[in-house]
């Protein structure tokens, strides 16, 4: 197993770590930083894979990731948080230790799932696909366990990261047009949730999604 693969695995481990961090982090700025870090690891690993596998379009997507996930999105989120004056800790629905246990269970589960695929793959990055899936799942779990709009968005973006990571690790990246398209979509999404934060804020004067439970079937 060559050096690149080793570095790649370390990066994967770091991504997974940040994913867990996102799961357990209470402070909103912390979440933001963790998310930025995750993006960074992601883009590095993408670049690395691109270098190892001579997939030059991966450079582009790595730069794209860097720009989008490490700079633009955290910046947007940061400004939003400042504008909306959200400093207090974000409380979770399920308490942290339980969440962690569930997270670990998820990692094991996704490892089990991806085992057959890993056998099929011949890529240097094949070992990391489990991590990618785990990241997706953890992102989803985070969205479930958090009750703050911003954290939900961050969880959502973390899922996207997982997907990106899957794309680069399972295969050597999707075709460029797809990558670009995905990036564009995420950008639009970012603007949309930006608008949303203000809407929610001005109608519910807080970003706690728990309040948004009016639309239910009458009993």
């Amino acid at each position: 197993m060559n050096i690149a693969a080793q570095i790649n695995s370390i990066l994967a481990a770091l991504v997974l770590l940040t994913a867990f961090g996102l799961l357990v982090q209470r402070r909103i700025y912390g979440l933001l930083h963790l998310f930025a870090w995750q993006g960074l690891f992601l883009s590095i690993s993408t670049g690395l894979v691109g270098y190892v596998a001579r997939q030059h379009h991966l450079y582009i997507s790595s730069i794209l990731t860097l720009a989008l996930k490490v700079i633009v999105l955290p910046y947007i989120l940061h400004t939003l948080i400042v504008r909306l004056k959200i400093h207090k800790e974000v409380e979770t629905v399920v308490n942290i230790p339980t969440t962690m246990l569930m997270g670990i269970a998820l990692v094991i589960f996704s490892y089990h799932l991806t085992a057959p695929i890993r056998e099929l793959s011949t890529l240097v990055t094949r070992s990391t696909i489990a991590v990618a899936l785990a990241t997706v799942m953890l992102g989803l779990l985070m969205m479930i366990t958090r009750r703050h709009a911003v954290t939900q968005i961050i969880g959502f973006l973390a899922m996207e990261n997982g997907l990106f990571f899957a794309a680069t690790s399972a295969t050597y990246g999707m075709p460029l047009v797809v990558e670009l398209g995905v990036g564009l979509d995420i950008l639009i999404a970012a603007f949309i949730f930006g608008i949303f934060f203000f809407h929610i804020r001005e109608t519910f004067d807080s970003l706690d999604v728990e309040q948004m439970a009016r639309l239910k079937e009458e009993e």
């Binding site: 999604v209 439970a213 009016r214 239910k216």
Partner: protein, 682 residues
């Protein structure tokens, strides 16, 4: 192209379909619209009658394919004697009712425009004919549902009344669920037929040529029977019928009760005898049992009603039962390969179909005339109408006699045939059936007797005695209405007096369906004697009965009236009290009391008596100021079947409602869990 029954039939349908187009032209002149559309409808019905009679006469079968529907599944049409017979039935009633409508529909003009009524009336007629002529599952169901939808809107005609909405809703619901059941049954048969994969299996022809494995045949039959009996109002699926028929305009109720239910009978006959063909004997017994149930329960519930049209509606349940008895017997005999007996039974069933169409149509038209005149449906508020509307009374009486199965009118003939079919049970191989059938016959007898009782009540309380109502300006029905009723009344008499002609006419049908026929036996003593099996077996000569009674009556009348003995009119004998008033008459409720008391366990009876003590004399109810007696007889089936089903579905609905409980986390959990489950199942 040369003129043929099929052309006539098709043109009749086309005319009916195109009458609604007249409505926009005459929006301003409603009376003109009514006259024209009704007349055209009558003409179209005449065409249909001709087509039907002709087809049965020739025993011909014509089939055409219309390039409509799906390109791979065009509409198949087929006019064979069976369809021809039902064409005749529907046409006959349609003709009289259309004429009746000229006068009747005008009664609405003072209250509302009648465009809707006219449009859907004709669509309804067209739908029924299309059902009869359809020869593939697709077109059959389309016509079936058009018929249902049109009649739904007709029941909804006076949609501001809550009872109309309720009735219409229950009706369309039962009808549609039934239709889906029929659809599934066709699905079974089509999927077994050849060429299903390329849309070939849906035609009845393809189904006819298929040998169904018994298991699937049974599934198909049960589904079809379920669906059709939902439409026919077979007990216990009858509950929609007494809700929907009374609230519809009376010309419509006449059609719904008189012929629409018969399309379901047609469906049963078509599916069992024509498409599936060979079946085990217990199918017949099932049909028989449900027939008996409907007959007895129908008449018993009818006896308890004091709403005239409701009473008639329950009698439709009864008569459908009698028809099904005939069909069921025929099925049993067929399954034991006794073609002649089967022919007798099915003739009885079909003949009663025809008869019921006639007299039930007549009765509903009469009831319509009464409603038209008195503005009430409750018999307890009528009485003495025979003086105010003699024509309607006489015609209604004919209807009553016919439906009570009294010679020499038509109801008796078909029931007599059914009895004969019953009494042939000893020739069945199965001992138990031999033994059960005569008992079933006794139940039929009970039904007939109760029906007679019920119509003594209906006619007596409504037309005889003294007027109990409030307003006095009660008028006789308009000429066109009378003509409509007279037509059916005459046909009742004709069908009762000359059964041999009719039976030899329709003899081709049993020959085609069950391979046996009655002509060999029925006709041999000439048109005078109806001898279904053999002369020594049983015989009935309606003409003679009619003539002898007539002769004797006339003779005595003349004999007694040659002598001048005056007839004095005097007051009633009032037992020495002061003048008795109309409130002291026997009411429908009190008339039915003995039977209600004897068979009370069948009904859901709620009796309440409220006594207002006369003030002053403390505590003495000996001479109360007033006594209020209230009686509610409800159908047990509501409590046993319908309400539980409704409650159950609402319970489930409440549970599914919980799924949508507002919190987004929960929804995310759903998708999360879904993924996990699917991945685990993988």
């Amino acid at each position: 192209m040369s003129i043929s029954p099929f052309i006539l039939a098709a043109s009749a349908i086309l005319i009916f379909l195109s009458i609604p187009l007249l409505v926009p032209l005459f929006l301003r002149h409603q009376r003109l619209l009514i006259n024209i559309s009704s007349l055209i409808a009558a003409i179209a019905s005449l065409l249909a009658i001709t087509a039907g009679v002709w087809t049965v006469w020739k025993g011909s079968t014509e089939s055409y394919i219309m390039p409509l529907g799906l390109p791979d599944l065009p509409f198949h049409l087929r006019l064979d004697p069976l369809s021809g017979f039902f064409f005749t039935v529907i046409g006959l009633l349609g003709f009289s009712v259309s004429i009746y409508s000229i006068g009747y529909v005008k009664g609405f003009l003072s209250r509302r425009p009648v465009n809707r009524l006219i449009i859907f009336y004709n669509l309804f007629m067209a739908g029924m004919f299309m059902v009869i002529i359809a020869d593939d599952a697709f077109f059959f169901l389309i016509s079936w549902e058009i018929m249902a939808a049109a009649s739904y809107f007709l029941v909804m005609f006076e949609d501001e009344k809550a009872e109309n909405r309720k009735g219409a809703f229950i009706y369309i619901l039962v009808a549609h669920v039934g239709a889906i059941a029929i659809l599934l049954s066709f699905g079974v048969m089509a999927s077994l037929a050849t060429g299903f994969e390329n849309f070939g299996g849906y035609t009845f022809d393809a189904m006819r040529q298929t040998e169904f494995p018994i298991k699937w045949a049974t599934v198909a039959f049960l589904l079809a029977f379920l669906g059709f009996s939902a439409k026919a109002g077979v007990f216990p699926l009858h509950a929609w019928l007494p809700e929907a028929h009374p609230v519809a305009p009376s010309n419509v109720s006449a059609l719904m009760s008189g012929v629409m239910l018969k399309t379901a009978i047609y469906g049963i006959v078509r599916v069992t005898f024509d498409i599936i063909k060979d079946f085990p004997w217990w199918w017949g017994v099932i049909v028989l049992i449900f027939g008996l149930l409907s007959a007895v329960m129908g008449v018993l519930y009818a006896l308890m009603q004091h709403d005239l049209k409701r009473l008639l509606a329950y009698h439709s349940v009864e008569n459908i039962g009698i028809i099904l008895i005939g069909i069921g017997l025929a099925m049993t005999f067929t399954s034991f390969h006794l073609p002649v007996l089967a022919a007798l039974a099915i003739t009885a069933g079909l003949y009663h179909t025809l008869n019921h169409a006639m007299f039930k149509g007549l009765l509903f038209m009469g009831a319509g005339a009464v409603l038209h005149a008195t503005r009430v449906r409750n018999m307890e508020e009528m009485g003495g109408l025979i003086h105010k509307m003699p024509w309607t009374a006489a015609l209604f009486l004919i209807g009553c006699i016919s439906i009570s199965a009294l010679p020499p009118f038509n109801g008796f003939v078909s029931e007599w045939l059914t009895f004969q079919a019953f009494l042939l049970s000893p020739s069945l191989p199965s001992p138990i059936l031999k033994l059960i059938f005569p008992l079933a016959a006794a139940l039929l007898a009970l039904t007939a007797a109760l029906a007679a009782t019920c119509f003594v009540k209906a006619f007596g309380i409504t037309f005889l005695g003294q007027w109990r109502g409030h307003h006095t300006h009660v008028h006789e029905a308009s000429p066109s209405m009378r003509v409509g009723m007279i037509l059916t009344a005459v046909s009742c008499l004709f069908l009762g007096v000359f059964p041999t002609m009719v039976i030899s006419w329709m003899d081709i049908i049993p020959e085609k369906l069950v391979g046996g026929s009655l002509t060999t036996t029925a006709g041999q003593f000439g048109w005078l004697w109806l001898t279904p099996i053999s002369h020594s077996r049983a015989s009935y000569s309606a003409p003679l009965v009619f003539l002898i009674i007539l002769a004797v009556v006339l003779l005595i009348y003349i004999f007694l009236h040659t002598r001048k003995t005056a007839i004095h009119r005097g007051p009633l004998w009032d037992c020495g009290f002061e003048k008795i008033d109309t409130r002291m008459q026997y009411t429908g409720t009190s008339f039915a009391m003995p039977i209600r008391r004897i068979l009370g366990f069948i009904f859901l009876i709620k009796e309440t008596v409220r006594i207002e003590a006369s003030t002053g004399t403390p505590g003495h109810n000996t001479f109360p100021r007033s006594i209020h007696y209230r009686l509610r007889v409800r159908d047990r089936m509501w409590g046993w079947i319908y309400n539980p089903v409704a409650d159950a579905s609402f319970w489930i609905a409440r549970k599914t409602g919980k799924l949508q409980q507002g919190r987004i986390q929960a929804y995310l959990v759903y998708s999360f869990v879904t993924i996990i489950i699917l991945l685990v199942l993988l």
